[in-house]
């Protein structure tokens, strides 16, 4: 899935009806408002992503220390790809972790719809 603002909104919505409401609101914004809101959404997404990545890098390094993984030249690239997959997968799961939930709440607030 391509990473776009709309997709982030879709990923982080709790259900279809919330997705619909949020996207409607998002699409009704004028260009400048949309620029502002998009940036805030991307910032939040990045924040959560960086947190995940940090954890995954640490885990991977632990595995290297335990000789379960090799420290290759594309070590970080691989960890990032794994993190991408992990985040994407979790977006579509029924139960999500607290960090994603908090991003969901925040995005709802940014776009102007209270979290349900």
């Amino acid at each position: 899935m391509n990473l776009t603002t709309e997709n982030i909104i879709k990923m982080l919505s709790k259900n279809e009806s919330a997705t619909k409401i949020l996207l409607e609101r998002f699409n009704s914004l004028n260009d400048d408002e949309r620029f502002e809101v998009s940036n805030k959404i991307w910032d939040l997404y990045d924040l959560m992503y960086e947190g995940r990545l940090q954890v995954n890098v640490q885990k991977a390094l632990n595995e290297v220390a335990a000789n379960k993984k090799e420290l290759s030249s594309d070590f970080y690239k691989k960890v990032k790809e794994e993190t991408d997959k992990e985040v994407e997968k979790e977006f579509f799961a029924d139960t999500t972790s607290a960090d994603i939930n908090s991003v969901r709440d925040k995005i709802s607030k940014i776009i102007g719809n209270p979290a349900t």
Binding site: L3, D32, S38, D99
Partner: protein
């Protein structure tokens, strides 16, 4: 439940926690304490009372209507929640209040709102009479506050202020301004008591020659009881005050009463500038002065503390504060009512400079009340954020009154930031923290004030951006989102619909600025007559004559090094003296040879004389010696004659210099100075004159009829700008020629030798050394960046630095002309952009980039890919015939200007604006490069990614340094692709600002 996963990074966790806390706070409601019905069993009186007290206590801690919840991390760095591992609240009160959520009462918010409202209202009224009061960077945050906290009528809106202080940034800003005000007021108290004490004792206290403890004042009081009685009848008010204090029956009354008495006899104010006094202590003194019994009671507490009055510090710091620019003093006078020009320092004593009736507009008793009420507000605020340590009651730490032993316990985020900036400021100015509070107080004070202002600016920035507002990064002007959008839209539509009017306006601006062109090596400024050009020529002429003079003297001295030792000879007169001495020695030598021959001849026994032979031998030898000596003597005589002629020639050069200098000083320099002074009177600061463009200054300065400054005044403005820059440059020329020689580590027996050695240094060696020594107005421009310099002028320049005023003016003139040249060019560019439709193209580019999905995913993917990202780190210069950048416009940029145009610049532009794939690639490139110039791109990346690369003026390597640093950090994992994404956001915001006219 802790909503933050434990494996998140601390920063992410903190932010997440904040988000979640906010969302919870918005949905949660205060719970009722206990809804279960109380049992109806009958309780005894004591049990009922205990129950009532428990309920009362619980209710007291509950949020009241209007109270606001905040996350404590917005105020303090402390992580303690105040709860122990078993979930119990700790018993000590300050630990209880250390919870994650803090509640600030409606009353504290209201008090801060009232304070800030009054402060801004004062400023607003003061601005009505002095419209330049808030000019300069130091008042940026106040200008911004005034802009968005005013109502439609232009008055400060209490409702808006109240809303503002409901935010953490608003509260902190109000609290910091409160502190600043209290610092000034408390310092005024200190000065008053210093005057009073000095007058009473006719000398500074002996102990440590500078410090007196308030306990000593008390003892002094007991020794002076008779004196009080004798003087009592003359001052009924004082008698009443004494009575009040003495009736207190406690020892502390002594201090208060003495102070009261001193003030009423010798001064009008009293204590205290003491940074470490608690508000209770200040209140004690204040109360005592009013004759209240409370004064005595509280005064006792005061005496149990370390109440040292530092008289010398008071005097030193008064000097520092009086040296502030007039505008700053006017500002302090307006907002605090204290006029520090009321005081003087004479022989280390602080004295009143004016008669009582002419002193400050606000009396000391009102200031006292202000201090007291503000300290109480302050204490309530600190209590609310969980800092209830005794120290928080103190008068805020006061950099204008040094106290080396005072370390405030008010550990807040803004205090840490202020300290951080203060330390950085001191380090970059090369001042030790001790000196900043001692021998270099004035600089320390300035740096501390700048740090405070910067923190206030940062807080306000945070507020602005987090409330959906936009800001002009250059002027600090704040616009709401609506304003910004309107501005952006209207800029484009205005240009589209009214191109002709715009063109005319620009033409008129350009014409008023005049035209600047290059004539040979000289820059000629046509528009404002040839006067500036004349000044430039005169300065150049003096400099060149001075160089000629020095070279001439050095050559004459060097020419005669075969007859006299040139060591220690610095001018031709000294050479003459040495030649004279050599001549005299040689005359003596001549006589000695004659005498020796005579003696030798006489010593031969006449019987043994073989006259012909002996005479021939002795006298032939004598004559040979004399002939040789006379050759030397003739040489010296010739040298003397030559030197005399040279002196005449030298004096002629000197006279020429003197004539030109006198002409410059009488006419041009005098005019520069006069015009400069006139603009200062108008309230424009030296820094504004030096750093602003003509256009900005025109906007800033309004002539009395309210019109913009007219063409006829422009020459005066230009003079003032030149003088302002010259003064800044002169300040930064830190070394005299001999100091430079010393500092370069050149050791030789004489100046001549030193200069010879200096000449033998390689260009690189000299440049390296001079770079260290030479700074300009911007602080770091290196010697090697000075144009048209080579080794010989450098040597002469080293000599001339002691007489460098004219050099500084010449350079200032060059800077000013260059600045105006750039301004005119920028206006012409805008004109050109309108005509050629570039502006419309820019609008489309910015619009596309603002649809972030066109840009962000691409940024992340290309920076993640090691191969793809390389092109953004490519700092090799693009060749003029490059096929990678084949359009005329791209090639033109490559060949134009002096700054390198590395490939990375083109690639960043394409990444954000996608110009390469569009039709009319060249025109699109021109539009994109007009939105963000190379140096601006580097500046944004530097700031956004926190690289901390310092850019010096004319730093041609800045772009390259920034890109190299990004590459290094990227490759070591210190910068991520997501941070690059965020930096790209800043570039887009910048382009939006440029297009909408917010950024020039």
């Amino acid at each position: 439940m802790d909503p933050v996963p434990s494996e998140l990074s601390p920063e992410a966790a903190a932010l997440m926690a904040k988000e979640v806390t906010e969302s919870l706070a918005s949905s949660s409601k205060p719970t009722e304490t206990n809804k279960t019905e109380p049992k109806t069993e009958k309780k005894g009186f004591i049990a009922r009372k205990l129950e009532e007290r428990k309920v009362e206590r619980e209710n007291r801690d509950k949020p009241k209507p209007g109270d606001k919840s905040f996350d404590r991390s917005e105020f303090t760095p402390d992580a303690d929640t105040g709860i122990d591992v078993r979930g119990r609240r700790r018993s000590r009160r300050f630990e209880q209040t250390s919870s994650r959520d803090i509640v600030i009462s409606a009353e504290v918010i209201k008090q801060h709102g009232t304070f800030l409202y009054r402060h801004l209202r004062n400023l607003n009224s003061a601005l009505a009479t002095n419209k330049n009061l808030l000019n300069g960077n130091s008042h940026r945050y106040e200008r911004e506050l005034l802009k968005f906290l005013k109502d439609e009528k232009g008055e400060i809106s209490q409702a808006k202020v109240d809303k503002f202080v409901e935010t953490s940034q608003g509260l902190i800003i109000a609290e910091m301004v409160n502190d600043l005000r209290t610092e000034f007021d408390s310092f005024a108290f200190g000065l008053d008591i210093t005057v009073a004490w000095g007058n009473r004792m006719q000398a500074l206290p002996d102990r440590d020659a500078r410090i007196i403890n308030v306990g000593d004042i008390r003892r002094e009081y007991w020794g002076l009881r008779a004196w009080f009685r004798e003087n009592g009848g003359r001052y009924p008010d004082r008698r009443a005050a004494l009575a009040g204090a003495i009736e207190g029956g406690v020892i502390g009354a002594g201090a208060s009463a003495l102070i009261t008495s001193l003030i009423q006899n010798y001064g009008e104010g009293f204590l205290d500038a003491l940074g470490h006094l608690t508000e209770v202590q200040v209140a004690g003194l204040v109360g005592g002065a009013g004759g209240a019994i409370l004064g005595g009671v509280l005064g006792r507490r005061f005496l149990t503390n370390n109440g040292d009055l530092d008289f010398v510090a008071c005097a030193q710091n008064l000097k520092a504060i009086k040296s502030l620019p007039d505008n700053e003093k006017a500002y302090i006078r307006s907002v605090t009512g204290v006029d520090f020009d009321d005081y003087n320092v004479t022989d280390g004593h602080v004295t009143f400079a004016r008669a009582p009736s002419e002193r400050r507009v606000k009396d000391i008793f009102t200031i006292k009340d202000d201090i007291r009420s503000r300290l109480q507000t302050r204490q309530d605020f600190y209590k609310a954020i969980g800092l209830v340590r005794p120290d928080t009651r103190a008068v805020p730490f006061n950099p204008i009154r040094p106290n080396y032993e005072y370390f405030p316990q008010t550990d807040t985020l803004w205090k840490r930031r202020t300290n951080e900036l203060y330390r950085e400021g001191l380090a970059s100015a090369g001042i030790s923290p001790v000196d900043a509070l001692g021998v270099r107080t004035a600089e320390g004070l300035r740096i501390h004030m700048e740090a405070q202002q910067k923190v206030l600016d940062e807080l306000l920035d945070t507020y602005v951006y987090s409330h959906g507002m936009e800001k002009n990064r250059k002027t600090g002007e704040i616009l709401s989102q609506v304003d910004f959008t309107t501005n952006l839209d209207s800029t484009i539509s205005r240009i589209e619909t009214n191109e002709e009017a715009q063109k005319k306006k620009l033409e008129s601006r350009i014409s008023s600025l005049g035209d600047i062109k290059a004539e040979g090596d000289n820059v000629v400024f046509d528009g404002q007559s040839g006067r500036l050009d004349d000044i430039s020529r005169s300065f150049s002429s003096v400099i060149s004559k001075q160089r000629e003079l020095i070279k001439f003297e050095l050559d004459v001295i060097a020419e005669h090094s075969d007859v006299v030792d040139p060591s220690g000879i610095f001018n031709i007169e000294e050479l003459q003296v040495k030649l004279g001495a050599a001549l005299s020695n040689m005359e003596g030598e001549r006589q000695r040879i004659i005498d020796d021959a005579e003696t030798k001849y006489n010593a031969i026994n006449p019987d043994d004389r073989s006259p012909d032979k002996s005479m021939q031998v002795i006298f032939e030898a004598r004559d040979r010696q004399i002939t040789a000596l006379e050759d030397k003597i003739q040489k010296i005589r010739d040298a003397q004659k030559a030197a005399t002629i040279k002196i005449t020639e030298r004096d002629k050069i000197k006279q020429e210099i003197s004539d030109i200098e006198s002409k410059i000083i009488k006419t041009q320099v005098y005019t520069l100075r006069e015009d400069y002074d006139n603009f200062l009177i108008l309230g424009i600061t030296r820094e504004q004159l030096a750093n602003s463009s003509v256009g900005e200054l025109q906007n800033l300065i309004r002539v009395p009829d309210g019109e913009r400054i007219q063409k006829s005044h422009l020459d005066k403005l230009l003079n003032a700008m030149v003088e302002a820059r010259a003064r800044i440059i002169m300040e930064n020329i830190r070394y005299s020629s001999s100091e430079i020689i010393d500092s370069l580590g050149i050791s030789a027996p004489s100046m001549e030798e030193q200069l010879k050695k200096f000449r033998s240094m390689s260009v690189d060696e000299i440049n390296r050394s001079m770079n260290i020594l030479y700074t300009t107005s911007s602080g770091a421009e290196g010697w090697s960046n000075l144009e048209n310099e080579n080794r010989t002028p450098m040597i002469e320049r080293a000599q001339q630095i002691g007489i460098s005023e004219n050099t500084a003016r010449e350079e200032a003139l060059r800077l000013t002309i260059e600045k105006i040249q750039r301004e005119v060019q920028s206006l012409k560019d805008t004109q050109e952009n309108i005509s050629s439709g570039v502006l419309k193209k820019q609008g489309q580019l910015v619009k596309n980039a603002s649809s972030v999905d066109n840009v962000y995913p691409k940024v992340i993917s290309v920076f993640r890919d090691a191969d793809q990202r390389q092109r953004f780190f490519d700092v090799s210069a693009v060749p003029g015939d490059s096929m990678d950048y084949p359009t005329e416009e791209e090639r033109k940029l490559v060949s134009g200007g002096t700054v390198q145009k590395p490939r990375a610049y083109f690639e960043f532009l394409d990444l954000i604006f996608e110009y390469k794939n569009k039709e009319e690639r060249g025109a699109q490139f021109k539009a994109a490069s007009g939105l963000v110039k190379p140096i601006e791109l580097a500046g944004i990346l530097n700031e956004s990614l926190g690289l901390g690369i310092v850019r010096v003026v004319k730093d041609r390597n800045f772009f390259v340094n920034v890109i190299n640093e990004i590459q290094n950090r990227f490759n070591t994992g210190q910068i991520t692709e997501r941070q690059m994404r965020s930096a790209v956001t800043d570039i887009i915001i910048f382009a939006r600002g440029r297009l909408s006219g917010l950024i020039k």
